[in-house]
């Protein structure tokens, strides 16, 4: 395990410490050492945006704390959901009285902890509503959408929810927009090499040289298939064949494209893949409104990639084009 760390059981604490110091102008600590918030949060009159989850996905989750994005994040151990208390404390850190939209991914632990946190918040009169991201197509068939995991599509959900809240929408409107965002989002990942949780010390699954795991999850959850490593063009086609019909995405649609590396795959390869994805979309008459290519939602040092598409209407476009400022995604407003 070739890692730059100190004590394996303190990686999350030290990362959080370093993160807060590096982004002191943007991020504040809270009374709970595992809850970070946007410096300006809670923002008077604005619905609070909260998320949380296991660590090891940088920039997710704390990298999306910032202006017009997420207000507070509950930070779990590596690949392990944060306790209910942390979600609850994140709600408190984000709530200005207008309520909190908790936008998180569909994992058993997170579902349980958020559920409990909402019960805790109920006693405090904090209105919390949730949207649960389930964009990962290969994780369950189309008739069991509620079993699908959330992956990189969560970022687009935060972007939309964060922008909507910043525009002054109320809690129900923010929830509706974020739900619409994820309902229109489909993702799929390919794994090329595994990753090791520092405390465990070695990868707890394997991908052989010359193979790839099709439909892998963000913690190495098994995919649809393990097959021979393909070219970028073949991978693009394979993913497109699965996610395009699933929504479906049709000729004339405007989309946001997000290609996220899983950690160790260099951006060069992501752009090569994007080049092939763009050709497929253009061929089908699907128009790319905005594109993100980079390491946006990773799995420690796993090699591989997630492709995410979101179909846009005018509301979603306005949200995607909205200015935001956070470590993981800073953009000037577009129009």
């Amino acid at each position: 395990m070739q890692k730059i760390i100190n004590k394996p059981n303190e990686v999350v604490d030290e990362m959080v410490e370093g993160f807060v110091k590096a982004h002191a102008g943007l991020i504040s600590k809270t009374d709970n050492p595992r809850v970070l918030k946007y410096k300006a949060a809670p923002i008077e009159g604005k619905v609070g945006i909260v998320t949380g989850g296991g660590s090891g996905h940088k920039p997710a989750f704390i990298g999306y704390i910032g202006k017009n994005m997420v207000d507070a994040v509950a930070v779990g151990e590596i690949f392990s959901s944060p306790p209910a208390q942390m979600f609850y404390d994140a709600f408190k850190a984000a709530d200005s009285g207008k309520g909190v939209a908790c936008l998180y991914g569909n994992y058993a632990g997170d579902n349980m902890n958020v559920k409990m946190a909402i019960e805790m918040a109920d006693d405090d009169d904090i209105a919390v509503k949730t949207v649960v991201a389930n964009d990962d197509v290969p994780s369950a068939p189309g008739d069991q959408l509620n079993k699908r995991r959330g992956v990189a599509g969560e970022i687009l959900m935060w972007k939309v929810g964060g922008a909507k809240a910043a525009m002054g929408a109320n809690l129900d409107e923010v929830i509706a927009a974020a739900q619409k965002a994820i309902n229109n989002t489909r993702s799929m990942g390919i794994g090329l090499s595994p990753c090791a949780i520092p405390e465990v010390g070695h990868p707890n699954f394997k991908i052989e040289e010359g193979k790839m795991e099709v439909g892998i999850g963000h913690h190495g959850e098994p995919g649809l298939d393990v097959c021979a490593l393909e070219t970028a063009a073949q991978i693009a086609q394979r993913i497109a064949d699965i996610i395009l019909p699933d929504l479906p995405f049709n000729s004339g649609d405007d989309v946001a494209v997000l290609i996220s590396g899983l950690g160790a795959t260099p951006p060069m390869e992501l752009y090569i893949l994007f080049n092939d994805v763009e050709k497929i979309l253009t061929d089908k008459g699907i128009n790319i409104h905005i594109a993100y290519v980079g390491n946006y939602f990773t799995s420690l040092e796993m090699a591989g990639v997630t492709l995410t598409l979101m179909k846009l209407d005018d509301e979603l476009k306005a949200c995607m084009d909205y200015e935001c400022d956070c470590m993981g995604l800073t953009q000037f407003g577009r129009n």
Binding site: A84, Q85, G109, M112, N204, H219
Partner: protein, 213 residues
Amino acid sequence: MSAVPTSEGKVILSALIKAIQDNKQYLSDIDGLIGDGDHGVNMNKGFTLCGEELGEKPVDLSEGLKTLYMILMTKIGGSMGPLYGMFFKAMSKACKGKETVDAVTFGEMLIQAKEKVMDISGAQLGDKTLLDCLIPAEEAYQSALDAGKSFAECLTAMSTAAEKGRDSTKNLIAKVGRSSRLGERSRGVLDAGATSCCLILQTFATTLQEQMK
């Protein structure tokens, strides 16, 4: 004597904490075969924190279980925090205000625990989780109680069923959690959560039985 005073909560909590601490390595080893090898570490962290919090002084059973579930729910993330958090929260509530724990009260504690855990877990019997231990154990306890057995006999019935339930996980394919990654290959190994659940239920049984003597 067929009831245990709730004022003796400390005995039970100390026994639970010790059982987890003693089996930390064993639970992690089981988890290591088809999971990520940290179940003992996760459980030990929560139970040891609880031991530190409780300190040396006596504690009411309901209060002691509350300390445990509060720590599980506030400090232990993942699935164990909420699952065992709910388990002990339900138990704590079901014996709150009681002078003693008798066969009916403990039956109430068990059924509440089972229901709350099922409620939050979303897993089904047969998915190779702690439910495969908890559900049959609770049912065996209720059957014994309905059949007019003594508190001690009910506990023994629960213990036997818990063990059987735990062992039943060996031949199951994991449907939830990390081990589900392995599909068919998850067969042949005990489930770590079912093992810790059996340990906890058996510790309740022997400790209550001893205090009844």
